[in-house]
């Protein structure tokens, strides 16, 4: 470690007209600013998607409710799913990757700063394009607005016979554009990690966050391309007389399913692997121990990446594949449990024998571990194909994947927010509000998504705008809806914490958590050039070496 923890003196801040500031943000190619732009943009869409979720939950509060029409309900769940996956989860995780990867590998920026800006603005454009469909979706036909075909848009529902007007086109074009944005960012992350590591940072000394984002970026390249191809084929079907998915003319509806899910399943891992990365940084620091089994964690992630490419058709067990195909996808899906199990055990191994500090980031991490365990176990149930014939397309599966996405991904994201917000802003988030946020969200989450499994077991299919009063689903749905509102309140606490702490939060200093990776060696927020001198590292925890020169990690690795 040749560079000491260097404190950059606060830059001379001059009063600038707001137009100049805006201009700087719009034209920026700085990875940190683009990271923050990605994150803020995703938070705005989180509110949109959240409001759509609440509309869905109000409608389902009791049987035969008529809060919204069936048409509006169908648009709501389509937009909710599409928004949360493509315009919240992906950009927010790209935002963190953008911000953290160069800092953690000791680089001054991403490999291709302009491509980075281009990718962000393309993604941002596609989100607004999708939402413009609320205004422009009718086109010249006057038939409905906003897509109502579900977030996976199964053919032939997207054929012009069943989806007149332009609402599906907005969906298609928005996903196509955001897909190119994602591919651009993935190439950027790959190139950055492979080419810009600081001296001494061999691949096996990279922080796990960099490793996991490397795997994620590789998967984006493999998974997004079939989705983009399918969107182009769909446009050909709709406007150029193609028949790829048009079953009436000999096309195949099942072909669309394969295209969609060979994207859709790796997508889940594209979202969860960066969250594993957050866990692998937060859990060690708050347990005061290095990550348990670093090489095994890397191996588990890489193998998870490969296995996840061979499981997509477990979304299609009800489609009528033959028994050999069903068996194949059952076993590959179960195999996913092995590397993910190894990861959970290693996080517990990290905590074992540590000095666990239950600060807000750690609380959210523990929530993640607990909920991700349950999500994994319900995933095993869904992988047992015959069990899936009952569970698939029901509220059980909705509960399962929200357990992954909310209980897993969102909890990990909250941990990341509380952990890295001080680095991004120079201010600590309030611990008091953080604990309110955590407990409210935890209670709301479990009210909603624990209970949601049960109507599925009782035969309630997903995507229905209402149900019959005599089916015994009323009370359960009411509890689910109340939980959703508690989560909404928790999100408001979180947003308030983000805003108020920005102005009034305690000063963070460079290294508020006494952590060990390179981003904590520079000032908070870091200067545009990140490091005054490029650091040189000798182990996986350069700041540990610096703080404990008598017993550095480099002796043991």
């Amino acid at each position: 470690m040749s560079s000491d923890a260097i404190t950059i003196p606060a830059l001379q801040v001059q009063e600038k007209p707001w137009v100049d500031t805006l201009h700087e943000w719009v034209t920026t190619v700085d990875h940190k600013r683009l990271g923050i732009l990605y994150i803020s943009y995703a938070l705005v869409f989180l509110v949109f998607g959240g409001v759509e979720a609440l509309i869905i939950r109000i409608q389902l509060m009791h049987s035969h409710n008529d809060f919204v029409s069936p048409q509006v309900f169908n648009r709501m769940f389509t937009m909710h799913g599409t928004t949360m996956i493509f315009f919240v989860a992906m950009p927010i995780l790209f935002g963190f990757a953008n911000y953290l990867v160069p800092l953690m590998i000791g680089a001054r920026d991403m490999a291709f700063p302009r491509l980075n800006a281009f990718s962000f603005w393309l993604s941002a454009f596609s989100g607004f394009l999708l939402y413009f469909s609320f205004l422009g979706g009718s086109g010249l036909y006057g038939a409905g607005n906003a897509p109502d075909v579900g977030w996976w848009s199964y053919a032939p529902l997207t054929a012009r016979a069943f989806s007149p007007g332009h609402s599906s086109d907005y969906w298609t074009l928005a996903l196509l554009a955001s897909g190119f944005g994602s591919i651009g960012t993935a190439i950027n992350i790959l190139a950055t990690i492979l080419c810009l590591r600081c001296p001494g940072m061999k691949l096996n000394r990279m922080p796990l966050l960099a490793w996991l984002n490397l795997v994620m970026a590789g998967m984006v390249l493999i998974a997004i391309t079939p989705l983009s191809a399918a969107q182009i084929m769909l446009l050909i079907d709709r406007y150029l007389g193609g028949h790829f998915f048009d079953a009436q003319a000999g096309g195949s509806a099942v072909l669309w399913m394969h295209f969609f899910w060979i994207f859709g399943h790796p997508e889940v891992y594209i979202l969860i692997i960066p969250c594993f990365a957050f866990m692998s940084e937060v859990v060690p620091v708050f347990s005061r121990k290095p990550i348990f089994g670093y090489p095994v964690m890397v191996a588990a992630t890489v193998s998870l990446g490969f296995v996840s490419l061979s499981v997509w058709a477990h979304h299609m067990f009800t489609v009528g594949m033959n028994s050999y195909a069903n068996s194949f996808f059952a076993i590959t899906s179960m195999v996913v449990g092995i590397p993910t199990g190894i990861k959970i055990f290693n996080w517990i191994g990290t905590m074992w024998g540590g000095r666990i500090q239950l600060k807000t980031p750690m609380l959210f991490s523990i929530g993640f571990l607990f909920q991700f365990l349950i999500a994994g176990l319900t995933g095993i149930m869904l992988a047992a194909a015959p069990f899936d014939w009952q569970l698939s397309l029901s509220y059980f599966v909705v509960a399962h994947f929200h357990y992954v996405i909310v209980g897993g991904i969102l909890f990990a994201l909250f941990a990341a927010f509380y952990y890295w917000y001080p680095k991004m802003t120079g201010r600590m988030l309030s611990e008091r509000l953080g604990k309110w946020h955590f407990w409210l969200f935890l209670i709301g989450f479990h009210m909603t998504f624990d209970v949601m499994h049960i109507p599925g077991l009782l035969g309630m299919p997903r995507r229905i705008y209402t149900y019959e009063p005599d089916r015994g689903w009323d009370t359960l749905n009411l509890i689910v809806s109340i939980g959703a509102f508690i989560q909404g309140v928790a999100i408001l606490v979180f947003v308030w914490n983000l805003i108020s702490s920005y102005f009034n939060g305690a000063n963070a200093g460079n290294d508020p958590w006494d952590a060990w990776t390179l981003e904590w060696s520079t000032s908070s927020p870091p200067p545009p050039y990140n490091f005054a001198t490029i650091p040189v590292v000798a182990s996986r925890r350069p700041l540990w070496d610096l703080k404990h020169p008598e017993d550095p990690d480099s002796l043991y690795e």
Binding site: P295, V319, G320, M381, Q390, R462, G472, D551
Partner: protein, 335 residues
């Protein structure tokens, strides 16, 4: 809260409510559904044990290894990993996966590759936006939304084998107590079977999002005794009743757009876009289960389908009040 309790009840208790609308997947009444439950319970036990073990480890490490004032000022021993432990928690999950897979593959094969016995009832189910068409090719019957099948007894099995097709978008056939769901996909023939062990009404509905009224594409299966089933078959095989007292209604029906979509056998009405009405009155519901089959609901359905099922493809027929009454009367004679 009946719903919650019904999960805990043993299936026999539930079976006593023969018309219970609670459709728990854990109350199976036919062989495929039963073998799914057996597998499910096995999977639940294994996942339950995993949950208990991992959760205990997690809770123990959080409570045991919390920082306190005595130790907060120094760092704990820095442990980097252990190959033996990693091996252990890799190999054990591998073994669990092998066991789970073998159990799963067995049930997949038993259900999917079951051979059709000679006495099986054959039904072609065709999904439409937003209703079900059922054709019994060997018996020459066409009906809609309410499937009649015979109960099976061990000595003389009469399982029902369904061929699944779709006329438009994707649908999924799901009656939780009788079988897992299978999709109906255009241009893609699927198959499923069931052999109900008791008589009664079994509820289900379309499980694959198929458009605006996916929610009200309901499904009911009436499992009849062999005698009742035979009687039902004979009734359905009759041509439509020609009741001279409703000639006016019949003329209105046959001179409006009704006949473009609906069939009444033995009359000019031979449309196939909507449900076959030849024996409409033998069904207990209309609009794919969205409403009881009463004269008032029939009238409302013909006059303003959107009031019962907004977004359904049945158009409002805009008949005069007098015509409406005569058509409803005509419908009421189609037993």
């Amino acid at each position: 809260m009946f719903a919650l309790w019904s999960l805990l009840l043993p299936p026999q208790v539930l079976a006593e409510h023969s018309r219970s609308p609670i459709t728990s997947i854990f109350a199976p009444e036919s062989t495929p559904a039963k073998s799914i439950v057996n597998l499910s319970v096995f999977v639940l036990i294994i996942t339950g044990i995993i949950f208990a073990v991992v959760c205990t480890l997690l809770v123990y490490s959080i409570s045991k290894f919390r920082a306190n004032s005595a130790n907060a000022d120094r760092e704990p021993a820095q442990v980097y990993g252990s190959n033996q432990i990693e091996m252990a928690w890799t190999i054990i999950p591998v073994l669990i996966v092998v066991v789970l897979f073998l159990a799963t593959a067995r049930v997949i094969h038993a259900i999917q590759d079951a051979l059709e016995p000679a006495g099986a009832i054959e039904v072609t189910a065709i999904g439409h936006q937003y209703w079900w068409e059922f054709r019994y090719p060997k018996l020459g019957i066409v009906t809609a939304n309410e499937l009649h099948i015979p109960v099976t007894d061990r000595s003389h099995p009469t399982p029902t084998f369904l061929q699944l097709l779709s006329a438009d978008t994707d649908h999924s056939f799901w009656v939780p107590e009788l079988a897992g769901k299978t999709d109906l996909i255009p241009n893609h023939l699927n198959r499923m079977w069931m052999d109900p062990h008791r008589t009664g009404i079994f509820l289900g509905q379309c499980a694959q999002y198929c458009g605006t009224q996916h929610a009200k594409m309901l499904l009911r299966i009436s499992v009849d005794t062999p005698q009742d089933f035979e009687a039902w078959v004979r009734g359905q095989q009759q041509p439509a009743v020609q009741d001279p007292s409703v000639t006016t209604g019949r003329r209105v029906f046959e001179h409006t757009a009704c006949i473009n979509c609906h069939t009444v056998s033995g009359t000019p009405a031979d449309g196939r876009f909507g449900p076959d009405l030849t024996h409409l009155m033998s069904r207990t519901t209309i609009a794919a289960g969205a409403a009881e089959n009463t004269p008032e609901n029939l009238r409302l359905w013909i006059q303003a389908p959107g009031k019962i099922k907004p977004g359904s493809l049945m158009p409002a027929m805009k008949l005069s009040d007098a015509d409406l009454d005569t058509v409803v009367h005509y419908m009421r004679t189609l037993r």
